[in-house]
Symmetry: C2
Subunit: 206 residues, 2 copies
């Protein structure tokens, strides 16, 4: 809020920018609000970062990484399926508990400019085709071996992601509808970490 802390302005600005951009999205974010949040003059934003779009791109990139890199590297191991699922669930819930605005931010901004996804995806060396292919193979194999019921890899993956991500994406709705305050919401998500895992395993074990 106040600048008093002797943190270098550049970093201080980026922090404020992150808050405001993730809270409001690009279109509704105001340079004024970012400046105020950082406790500095608006012109200073332009001194450190050329313009709104440049700032936004920096923020988007870090958020994008935060959202995708983890799951990507988990999927790319050759651990057994159940273990992967466990890791994805715990990882997602943990990350999103720390950054609850993340999914909504990514979702809306990608919807507004889908080309970003491809662009940044390439930039950080994500290859969806390959990741998906590996996961599909693994699921198919376990199906054939009778370890899990018949299910498409991508449907399973989508189920996992849905169960983890949706409550955060829709957090303001969920909180109101289920009449939870911040604390109970967080508690519920903590319970969910184990709950979802059980739910999925139960659903796919023959």
């Amino acid at each position: 809020m106040t600048k008093s802390d002797s943190k270098p302005s550049e970093e201080l600005i980026l922090n404020s920018a992150m808050k405001v951009f993730t809270r409001r999205g690009f279109a509704a974010a105001r340079m004024e609000e970012i400046a105020k949040e950082a406790g500095i003059n608006r012109a200073l934003l332009h001194y450190y970062f050329r313009d709104k779009e440049t700032m936004f791109n920096l923020i988007f990139e870090t958020q994008f990484k935060e959202f995708f890199s983890g799951i990507g590297s988990i999927l790319n191991t050759n651990k057994p399926l159940f273990e992967k699922i466990k890791e994805i669930v715990t990882h997602e819930i943990d990350v999103l508990s720390r950054h609850p605005d993340l999914p909504r931010f990514i979702i809306t901004e990608v919807a507004l400019q889908p080309e970003r996804l491809i662009q940044y995806g390439q930039k950080m060396g994500i290859n969806p085709r390959q990741i998906l292919e590996v996961f599909n193979q693994q699921v198919e194999q376990e199906v054939r071996q009778g370890k899990i019921i018949q299910i498409e890899g991508r449907q399973l993956l989508m189920n996992i992601m849905s169960l983890c991500v949706y409550p955060f994406a829709a957090k303001p709705i969920v909180k109101t509808m289920m009449q939870m305050d911040e604390k109970t919401f967080n508690q519920m998500m903590m319970n969910r970490r184990e709950g979802i895992y059980q739910f999925i395993i139960k659903a796919i074990t023959p």
Copy 2:
């Protein structure tokens, strides 16, 4: 696009407004774009509807109803649990297939102004407390009777909603990551209607 069809302008404008607002959200929506989409002059928007905000509220209300009313009335019956689940899933997938932008729109706009949710909720007589209470009771009962495994009502409800809604909310991401075109996406969602139901039932049957 063109106005040629002799439809009354008022309705025509609302249609365009709906498209643009759901596509871009309030902040990124441009009056100009709405006018162009309707094939009319920008000033006419103000002739029929006072200003941007008034227009937006009308759109938001209809979208809000579309999103919530169905599930509300399904939950408010006293059918058996599995039947309810089946109905919710099919209903959600059907509605969202017709209005794929709906969840993202509601989610982002509610996040931007959470008071809307309460306001419009009351306006259309939705009582979350009561709805949730009924569902909780029902789940608890089935748990006690040993018909389903131990699970919290709200967790189950959240799972159901997550599995249905998330793929649409994150549609642009899902499409890109899983390399699907519009058609395959829709097909996948159709398969999902049955798939999710099986998944949930399997997960909660003892």
